[in-house]
Subunit: 469 residues, 2 copies
């Protein structure tokens, strides 16, 4: 690929910049940085060196060196990504933001938090909650993922139907550019049209356009009331069919999460949890929140009624924190559970217009049958975003799987595109979906993306090989 190797001289220079403790070369220590939550055998790759800068200045010095020497730099958050975005596929320098993990300021007057990007997302949520404030970002990995990863992937999650995705809440950021400059974008500002909105471009760019070292995150008032409905349906189709009905009915729920039976079952087994899934084929988890208990109750009843009018078998209401947390815990752990019970799998992330999601279910059935694989499905149905998961049948040989998986994916993505959808709603393209994206995307759009990349990163050192070639 024309990249220079990380020589002993480079290691020495890195140690001068960062101190010995922030430069890891032992194979044992750096192995953990060679993969994320995608399949390690398929996508894993060892870095030549791992660095853990403590400041933006150190980060910039590392990138300047890498740009000078033409060594790839792969930025990494918590490693909880699902598209291989943080895997150093060309070796080189793996730059982990784990030591830039301070919440620098909670500014109550402006209702913003300034934090380094190695902060765990849930730490922000917990810290501001005490002050009756609310950060609306809620990826399913909220307890482990970093703010930096959320920004890199423009993470969605469990509250996006009502609150939108990460990008809506990032008012400012500090970025190390691919040339190693430090630049501050935006500010504590509700709006700003003073030139191009570069921070929105960086959000979701998967670390290919720079490393975000700090962010200014907008807070809201903490919703004081909430409730969760657990709605059971006989079939997945029935559950999904009711989603656009709810969405277009005027009440905006916080979330509408979908889980088919296999997904609930697998997560419940993994957690040793009991949700009443036995008699249902699928369920929706619908949360409503707000500032008044009466409003939440009336919204909850209206949505419950709507579900019962649209083929629901039963509606359970969870109002106390404990019951609510149990349900969300099952939802949050599906991906992890599938990894344990079905290690050979492909977790997908398609997104379609909400009105089109009923059309997806029969297509999943068709693909499942055609390629002889199970496709359990769950996800953020209220956003049209479904995590269909292609699972290898134990009977299928690895050789057959490696042949069938890409064909099934191409089929799935092509159907998604026909329905007006895209191949990733929140997990990103990374390395996992790169070749598929390049096949599906309008070449003009791809050229525009590559134009930006080339202008900002002429040596192609910043997370190369991700999103596109």
């Amino acid at each position: 690929m024309g990249y220079a190797p990380v020589t002993p001289a480079i290691i020495r220079e890195l140690k001068e910049i960062l101190g010995d403790k922030n430069v890891l070369v032992d194979e044992e220590k750096i192995e953990a940085y060679s993969h994320d939550e995608t399949n390690e055998e398929e996508y894993g790759h060892m870095p030549e060196v791992v660095v853990t800068p403590e400041t933006a200045e150190q980060t910039a010095a590392v990138v300047k060196l890498a740009n000078r020497e033409v060594i790839p730099v792969t930025p990494r958050g918590a490693g909880s990504g699902l598209s291989g975005g943080a895997i150093p596929i060309f070796g080189g320098i793996l730059l982990s933001v784990e030591k830039m993990n301070k919440i620098l300021e909670v500014d109550f007057d402006n209702m913003v938090v300034t934090a380094e990007t190695g902060v765990v997302t849930n730490d922000i949520i917990s810290m501001v909650k005490e002050k009756n404030l609310f950060y609306a970002g809620y990826p399913m990995s909220v307890q482990t993922c970093y703010l930096g990863g959320n920004i890199a992937e423009n993470a969605g999650g469990g509250k996006a139907v009502k609150y939108g995705v990460t990008g809506r809440y990032i008012q400012g950021m500090e970025v190390v550019t691919p040339k190693g400059d430090i630049v501050s974008l935006g500010g504590k500002l509700a709006k700003d049209v003073s030139g191009y909105d570069l921070k929105q471009l960086l959000i979701g760019s998967e670390g290919t356009l720079g490393i975000v070292t700090k962010a200014i995150v907008k807070l809201s008032g903490l919703p004081t009331a909430s409730a969760v409905l657990l709605v059971l349906y006989e079939t997945a189709r029935q559950a999904i069919d009711s989603v656009p009905v709810i969405i277009s009915n005027g009440i905006v729920p916080t979330s509408i999460e979908f889980m088919d039976k296999l997904s609930v079952q697998t997560s419940c087994q993994y957690l040793n949890e009991t949700l009443p899934y036995e008699n249902c084929g699928a369920m929706l988890v619908i949360e409503v929140d707000g500032s008044s208990a009466e409003q939440v109750e009336s919204d909850m009843i209206a949505i419950g009624d709507l579900c019962m009018e649209n083929a629901a078998q039963e509606v359970y209401i969870a109002e106390d924190r404990n019951a609510v947390e149990r349900i969300w815990n099952v939802r949050r752990n599906i991906a992890e559970a599938f990894k344990v019970y079905s290690p050979i799998q492909s977790l997908e992330d398609i997104v379609v217009p909400t009105a089109a999601i009923p059309d997806i279910i029969p297509e999943l059935d068709r693909i499942s049958e055609k390629y002889s694989m199970k496709i359990p499905c769950y996800g953020h149905a209220g956003d049209g975003n479904l995590h269909a998961t292609l699972v290898k049948d134990p009977e299928m040989s690895m050789e057959e799987w490696h042949k069938a998986e890409p064909e099934a994916l191409r089929d799935l993505y092509s159907v998604t595109q026909k329905l007006g959808g895209k191949i990733s709603g929140e997990h990103g393209i990374g390395i996992k979906r790169r070749d598929y994206l390049e096949q599906l995307i309008d070449p003009v759009e791809l050229e525009l993306m590559k134009g930006i990349k080339k202008a900002w990163d002429p040596n192609n050192i910043m997370n190369p090989g991700k999103i596109f070639n």
Copy 2:
């Protein structure tokens, strides 16, 4: 500037593409396209030809021709801009989207409108209102401005405190690139991380990166209840001081608009309207809305009480549509009224963190005194966005004004930047603030912007000379 002139041969080719009726060359007819709502003498410039394509294909053909011949193309919406963004400062082709003015689809299931960008923003609002749906964009020029202009400037307006600015609602767009290709970005999708978010980059890029010909606009449920508070204060400082108190108190109003006495007075005179401004030095217009009359009433009372505790003289409540519309009409017409009564002026658009807006008022007083000019002030205080307006004293000679105005602006912008603000919150940089931006911005950020512009528009034909040189 190295641009080719629009020759008779080019005119012939344009007529072949567009038909005779869509190619205007008569000086009388094209004069109206030589200026926007900025001062005509200072910023106006005649185009060589005006074209009014009816389709994206015609638009693309014009841009292809312009790119081939290296002729500048200046896209134009309704011409209601306040930064000279639509002025063809190098002559060339003025491309007005006025004939691409159809609302193509209201998709109730997905709650989106697909519209051409020559549609008047209010037409979208009115059309979907009948169906109990709501488009939250509400620039003060809502009754005349185009969706395309709103996208080009990432327009804010009167509902942004609660609903955010235009960019939040644009889910997809059709764009003609500076090379004359047509590309569709996004879709009817609540979220999408399939590559860089180019549509967010285009939003607010002031027509320098392409011409948006169609957009998919997200709708919400129509708020069924609302009320407007007119809150009077003795001084501007007192009115502004209460804004961060309201903002950080938990209730999210739809808007907090600020008007000092001169602004209200001027607009009231212009409209022959009577608001009770005589005894006050400034007022806030605070709107609250929601889906329940009880909630709106309780929010309204809470905010009213808060204002009274924070130095308000009086709080008037307008609940019926007519009274609400009268108040908003006064607010919407301030800029127009000032143009009539003080034609020599500079309408500004600074934005600061909301907690910093109290610090702006004494700075405006200082600048007013230092440069011997009145600076009436109004704007979207709830967003930290103030339209301070430098007004020439009748005693001041034009020569003195031309000397004092840029100095006063530099002073104002520099103070704004010191307070963590930016020079434009919603009007854009255009030609009016370009040189100031270039002086104030971090050179690294400017280089990143220019890198994108150069990659996408190597011949610099797409609205050249705007935002930066």
